[in-house]
Symmetry: C2
Subunit: 289 residues, 2 copies
Amino acid sequence: MKLAVVGLGLIGGSMALDLKKCGYVSEVFGVDQSIENQQSALELKLVDKIVTLEGACKQSDIIIIATPVSSVITLLPRILDLINEHQTVLDVGSTKNLIIECVRNHKYRANFVATHPMAGTEFSGPSAAQEGLFCGKATVICDSLENHPDHLKKVNDMYLALKMRVIEMKSIDHDLHVAYVSHLSHISSFVLANTVLDKEKDASAIFNLASAGFESTVRLAKSSPEMWAPIFDQNQKNIVEALGDYIDRLKLFHESLKAHDYDQTKKYMYQSNEIKRILSQIQKTKEKE
Amino acid sequence: MKLAVVGLGLIGGSMALDLKKCGYVSEVFGVDQSIENQQSALELKLVDKIVTLEGACKQSDIIIIATPVSSVITLLPRILDLINEHQTVLDVGSTKNLIIECVRNHKYRANFVATHPMAGTEFSGPSAAQEGLFCGKATVICDSLENHPDHLKKVNDMYLALKMRVIEMKSIDHDLHVAYVSHLSHISSFVLANTVLDKEKDASAIFNLASAGFESTVRLAKSSPEMWAPIFDQNQKNIVEALGDYIDRLKLFHESLKAHDYDQTKKYMYQSNEIKRILSQIQKTKEKE
């Protein structure tokens, strides 16, 4: 089977690496508009060959779109225009509903599988690609009732080859859940970094006083704005809700601190501690796999 | 030299372990009001012997107070009442000004060194103690002009034995800086966990969709409310300011999302990316050590 990866960054590059290594595909074509990314992907042996989008659509059994979500909605209809009925297309973007909507009435809608592997790091570009990034993690497939069973099976098998747990979900539910469980984390981290950077202008206090806890909460603030701005934009309605909720709760915590309401402050923190149970469940599942 | 550690948790236990191992002290006495912690500290060989507070003050050259900061302000005056002029006392709490104020006029004020080692994890209790926790990290000593040089030297040498970088700072500056660089991270994480837990009541979406990014931003939400509520209370003024700043900036981000102001949203994120430079500097310093 031949694979094309459109967008040779962290996710696309890592998928290319592992799918070739495990033997699920025999040849990998890479498509990227940046000459630098093309060269880097070849040097890092993420792909066998750089081709044009048209070339990729001619020669591949599976085409993975791994660009920022703003490009997915322009590339996906073009790609579906170029393929035949046997070719399978999937995207790996962090938003799902709008992406599906943009090809809702395309004659090859059934060939397009909308997916979201829950893996990544705060780094980007071909050099961020790594083997085993997906192993043991979950991937979401959305609105699969609209897919032809053959195409769905091909994508499902591909994720199993990457050793991922496949979860099915409606795109509309996916977008709401990820607003809370993923997108909000990024905003809390981006804005935390901004708040601290602006207060600590000479940075020596950050340098001296930052502990592992600080590093952990601002880690996502290193993420690429070019990748995240389109996600926030496409999932705007849900993220506006999630961020509004977060701000409301921070205000309650603020009020409780201002009032020296020690018992209430503790009560909020004991509620937060419940996250321990869920994180340790996740940990246990990972260890089993 | 003989050491007493009052409060056998993560920090006290880890200091006891390393100070004995590196030979800076020959014997370690442990004081803790919890029988469970006493037994656990003996079993884990964090201390050689459990003694009373009075016993500790009779026999030790250095006494480390490693309890929640609410207990530091009640224990510290009692301990200074029990020592002689040759004995050195230090605390390791996350707030400094109020703690110093509570013994401002004590005749042994010069024996008390106010410190804050910038190390820890989200876990607590004697079983959370670990070797090497402090190695390569920074520790702050506050208002050292009020210390007798002999006592200051003893504490300074102790931190060098733990392989820490010693930074001097006014307690008032320390408390403002840590409000932004440490305490705010904890609040952002506690409240993020609350927001997500409340939305995702059945937790299966968290379980399925949580990525490493989510885990990293909510990690501190596992921290002990019994330790953090007193810190927030003692550093209330600064934390109210820091949290107010954070909320104001989140509101700006929220407005920019609501207005679909794509360029402004990206601009905020590019500003946050500046944190990369500082975190990589910290990383480089660690690697050198």
